[in-house]
Symmetry: C2
Amino acid sequence: MSTTEIDNLDREILRLLQKDALLTNKEISFTTRKSIATIHERIRRLKEQGYIERSVAILNRKKINRNLIAFSQVLLNDHTSTTLAKFEEDVVKFPEVMECFQMTGTFDFILRIATSDMDAYHHFYRHKLATLANITSIQSFFVLSETKSDTAYPI
Amino acid sequence: MSTTEIDNLDREILRLLQKDALLTNKEISFTTRKSIATIHERIRRLKEQGYIERSVAILNRKKINRNLIAFSQVLLNDHTSTTLAKFEEDVVKFPEVMECFQMTGTFDFILRIATSDMDAYHHFYRHKLATLANITSIQSFFVLSETKSDTAYPI
DNA sequence: ACTGAAAGATAGTAGGC
DNA sequence: GCCTACTATCTTTCAGT
């Protein structure tokens, strides 16, 4: 981690690019009232220093048949680093697993699972997730509706 | 929802752009062995038909001081549509709330909260979230480590 | 649907303030 | 750190298959 700090111009650029990664330098230079070359150099630095990790297209999941989102809370029966690491190694390989976080509290991991429907989730649960070693329990919760889903941090 | 289906070329383009939204048409045309104009037209259609919702820059949250991610499970004390809608309306306004889903099961909503640290979460909890109307309980779980966090659906 | 090529716009670089 | 000006590269359009 470098000691470099970002200023208000950097923050404004990050704010804009979090909303739309395809903005041209020209558009950003117009909004921020700086020259195109300045914007170009700032964005280069923000990437180089790791503030911007990557730019991605966000798809409409219903159009590509991911109608069901589940959160699955997993509890393991032992917490040696070997067991934890093995679970993580195996679970991230499943294409249904969009996210996996190790958590504090009454369970060990929370997974975000995307499937086409309940049948597909059931199949994932029975034939993939529940087959992994050292699982004590899995509790599943399903998304009824998406009120807010944002990738942009307020800056 | 239109009746239009996508073919293998569309799927390959979506796969590529989910990983890197800044790929040039030229690069995609090289990978897919199609002409630049073909790629250009395909991407235009994928956006127009709503497969691609938007393109965004993904930031390194630790560089911008969002070190703590919490999942907060919220239970309300009544489930009239008015109460549900009011909660949703209010909760999405908090900048700490990255995501809000209404859920099946033993609680009503799950929130993903991003703050700088536990003090900031505590402040959010006490002075923002817990002040909303009709809340019965809030249970908070904190991310210890991020094993996988992907925005790209396998296609 | 796809292609190649032209025209217009943008990214990226260099030199100066 | 920011600017103008220049060149390389890319996007976008279109006539042709």
